[in-house]
Amino acid sequence: MKMKVKWALLTMIFTIATVLTGCEPLLVLDPKGPQAKTQADDIMLSILLMSGIVIAVLAILVYVLVKYRASNQRDDYEPPHIEGSPLVEAICIGIPIVIVIFLSFVSVKSNYEVEATPAGYEDTKPLVVYASSSNWKWHFSYPEEGIETVNYLYIPAGRAIEFKLYSYGPITSFWIPQLGGQKYAMADMVTTLHLAADNPGEFVGRNANFSGAGFAENTFDVTAMSQTDFDEWVEEVHETAEPLTEEKFEELLEPGHLGRSTYTGTHLEFAPAPEHNHGSTDSEMDHSEHENHDSNHSDEESDHSHH
């Protein structure tokens, strides 16, 4: 019995260790931006702390099982009646409380970090990208640059990026694991995700939230490049790409999978994002709701704070 437990434990630790430290690092633990770094640090910290707990429990368990198993005891041994002891129980409550308090601090601190402009890039002017999903594609609109892409995303490295997320359909979740964790894109509101890439590079991005038959292939490619390369790309798009018309956009929204494509202009001009709108079709109501929101809404606040 003891042997078996040990053996199971060893194989478990061994597998985890080989894979965690193995040849290729796991995406989430191989961060390429400050948000993903914060998250990877939290994850590693909690893995360490939690392994300690698992090992402690296991050690105590194996110890009592060996020590008090019937075959290791006299035949006439009668276990005592023990109600419990306030002191021992207080200690048992105390240890978890201390751990939870510690983790709470870490968690709260990280929450404010990932919901703010990425650390180190506070004084860059963030690039605003509207990322909207439709079954089963991603549309990236760059309002300031006046361009739009489908299923691929170019971003300048070393600069804060502010993603404005929404969806033309089911709830989706915008996720670039190496740059930072995901956030939902929904049809009746806009959510904000702050990311940044430290260096040029290529990353995978996907919709992480199940959205129907084409969900598995609902991915996009991300390329981070220097600001100059990015500017050049924008210019090139303006020279070569077709303008995005309303008809064309309707066509793009049709359910299905598409390859990459690039346009000048954005769909935001004729189909604005559902900011502060909650899907109400009544424009008057819209307006009053909007005013309400503005009075208690600062730019830093996340879009959901009005709930």
């Binding site: 994850i43 909690s46 009592v64 109600e83 694991p177 995901q182 109400s280 959901h304």
Partner: protein, 652 residues
């Protein structure tokens, strides 16, 4: 549209046709078999119309085992599909249906009836009662549950299965994105089964509050009864939310209301919130009774009283309150902002504290004990480390910033299976093995039982640890396939092998039942484990009135006191016993509900209206029905008792 077209399956495949044929043949075989052996009358008198909590419990058990099989087949299909990149075994639509039904079936139609089986069988015996407070309602609970289960399970051969995930988030679940009737099945079948659960929640709370044996104060109840009490209080608070939620979802789909639409003032996030306001407490409804069973088993086989009884109870009360304060952790990524996430992050982590207390208490119960490794004990001892692993990964998920990375990935899937399987499924099997002799008068084979536990655990580790890793590597959940370049394939193959090993262990469990039916000794008395609480104080098989004389207790382990300290359980002499009559009404009402549900799923309004009237008529009939039950006379009791004692004496 031809009337019958709507019943066709929208995405048929060979597997579905094959199972249609299989199910058809099985049904025919069962009907023929019952007719051939002339068992219809027996079935009707002894089972279908029964109001006996023990029989109703066993029917719950049968459903649970059947659904464990169905959910298990779904699981193996998913694991096989994912074992290789670009596998063509299931296409996207089928994979989506399979994980949706797997989730619903496992949680609502496997785990729920399994714990309800224990509630039914054990609560009255543990508190020394003759039955539950409302025996006929109890039968109604079962039949509503059964019909809901049946309705849900015909979906894949009539009209198509739901495919929007067991969470069924809107707008994905609305008519535009889920046009087939599959999601109607989800809304209506779960509604019917859920009513059954809510009614039995009320029933068990009343039973525990009003029907305890003399001397059994609240703080002298056995730990399983405590856990059942708290779980049922959670049921009564949480299930109405589900009822309302499903009603709103049904109306959105069938009557064009706008509760969860994204325009016209609807709000899709409302579904997610309400779903988890029910959904999180739901997982505690499952885990608390499991904790209760472990407490009984560990204390029995450590041959010691349960350490820290009071803190065990207190921790469950705290858990039950907190279970309603954490639902947002299921969507930290919805954009509520750092403040809201921080609050729910902390409340979620706080639940780890009472849970930790329980683990320490079990460890301290082993301390200074005299531990015997029976099969139920082995499951419990495997549970402690494996569940701890699941628990600590839960704490990891509770760190909301990090959850942005875990959310929607296989890491999460690994986590909840890691708490549910060692937590709930092991407890169910351990409890089943433990109480098997009480129910059926013989024990399951210990050698096969221990092998089963070990094989299941090896399979479990292989099946789920790799999912933690692929999750951190970016494998999203609910993805029907992935490409070679992702590098997920090796670990997914390991997970498939693990799932296969688990399947072997379940096959062994079935074999064990078969083997023990054939070869196990029937000469085991009524207390084969040397146990501690009241359910072991009556005969095996348990007579329909449970206890000929109502027992009197003075501690949490009345039977132990009687055995070791000369406590007298049964004082006084036989008196006639009042028992409820059998009734066909719950079954008939259940059947009408089934037809009503079917009519709703397919929007066949005339039928829906007729059956709705039928339901009302049944309810009115019941209100005016006069049935005062019957009495078992003293002579009859004496006869039964003598016979049961005689059986024992003869055997000894």
């Amino acid at each position: 549209m031809d009337f019958f077209d709507r019943f066709a399956v929208p995405h048929p495949s060979f597997l579905i046709y094959a199972s249609m044929v299989g199910i058809g043949l099985t049904m025919v075989a069962i009907v023929l078999g019952i007719t051939y052996f002339k068992k219809w009358g027996y079935l009707w008198r002894e089972w279908i119309t029964t109001v006996d909590h023990k029989r109703i419990g066993i029917m719950y058990l049968l459903v649970a085992l059947l659904m464990l099989f169905r959910g298990g087949v779904d699981a193996i299909m998913m694991r096989y599909q994912l074992s290789m990149p670009d596998n063509k075994f299931l296409e996207s639509q089928h994979y989506n249906e399979v994980f949706t039904t797997h989730g619903v079936v496992m949680i609502l139609f496997m785990a729920m009836p399994f714990i309800t089986f224990f509630f039914n069988y054990l609560i009255p015996l543990q508190i020394g009662a003759r039955d539950v407070a409302f025996p006929r309602l109890n039968a109604l609970s079962f039949w509503l549950f059964f019909m809901g289960m049946g309705l849900f399970n015909i979906s894949f051969i009539v009209g198509g299965s739901p495919d929007a995930g067991w969470t069924s988030y809107f707008p994905l679940a609305n008519n535009e994105f889920s046009p087939s009737v599959g999601t109607n099945y989800y809304m209506i079948a779960i509604q019917i089964a859920g009513m059954g659960t809510l009614i039995s929640g009320i029933n068990f709370i009343t039973t525990i509050l009003k029907m305890r044996a003399p001397g059994m104060k609240l703080m002298k109840m056995p730990m399983f009864t405590w856990s059942a009490f708290i779980a049922n209080v959670i049921v009564v608070f949480a299930f109405p939310v589900l009822t309302v939620l499903l009603a709103m979802g049904t109306m959105d789909r069938l009557f064009g209301t706008n509760f969860f639409t994204t325009g016209d003032g609807g709000m899709d996030m409302l579904w997610a919130n309400l779903f988890w306001v029910w959904g999180h407490p739901e997982v505690y409804i499952l885990i608390l009774p499991a904790f209760g069973l472990y407490s009984e088993i560990i204390s029995t086989f450590a041959r010691r009283n349960l350490y820290g009884y009071k803190s065990m109870v207190a921790s469950m009360v705290v858990i039950s309150v907190f279970s309603f304060l954490v639902w947002t952790h299921h969507f930290f990524t919805m954009g509520q902002g750092a403040f809201t996430n921080s609050i729910f992050s902390i409340t979620t982590m706080a639940i780890a504290i009472p849970t930790g207390v329980k683990i320490f208490n079990w460890l301290f119960t082993l301390w200074k004990g005299k531990i015997v490794f029976t099969t139920p004990m082995l499951y419990s001892m495997l549970f402690i480390p494996l569940f701890t692993l699941g628990g600590v990964t839960g704490v990891m998920l509770a760190m909301s910033a990090a959850d942005y990375q875990y959310h929607n990935t296989m890491f999460l899937v690994a986590h909840f299976h890691n708490v549910i399987i060692p937590g709930v499924v092991y407890a169910m099997i351990a409890g089943l093995t433990f109480y098997w002799p009480k129910m059926f008068g013989f024990m399951l084979n210990e050698r096969i039982g221990k092998w089963t536990a070990w094989i299941m655990s090896v399979g479990f580790v292989l099946a789920f640890i790799p999912m933690y890793i692929t999750g951190l590597d970016g494998q999203a959940r609910r993805m029907y396939t992935y490409s070679e370049s992702t590098g997920f394939s090796m670990l997914n193959m390991v997970a498939f092998i693990g799932a296969g090993i688990m399947a072997i262990s379940f096959a062994l469990l079935v074999y064990n039942i078969y083997y023990s039916i054939r070869y196990a000794s029937r000469d085991i008395g009524s207390d084969p484990w040397d146990a501690r609480s009241l359910e072991w104080a009556t005969h095996t098989p348990v007579p329909e009135y449970n206890f000929a004389i109502t027992p009197q207790v003075a501690s949490t382990q009345g039977f132990w006191d009687a055995k070791k300290n000369g406590h007298e359980l049964f004082k006084g002499k036989y008196e006639k016993i009042h028992m409820p009559n059998n009734s066909g009404w719950p079954f008939i009402l259940g059947c009408i509900f089934f037809v009503f549900g079917f009519a709703m799923v397919f929007s066949i309004w005339p039928l829906a209206i007729v059956t709705l009237i039928g339901i009302l008529v049944c309810l009115v009939y019941r209100s005016f029905e006069k049935d005062h039950g019957r009495y078992i006379s003293v002579e009859e009791i004496e006869e039964t008792e003598a016979k049961l004692r005689g059986v024992k004496n003869e055997d000894r």
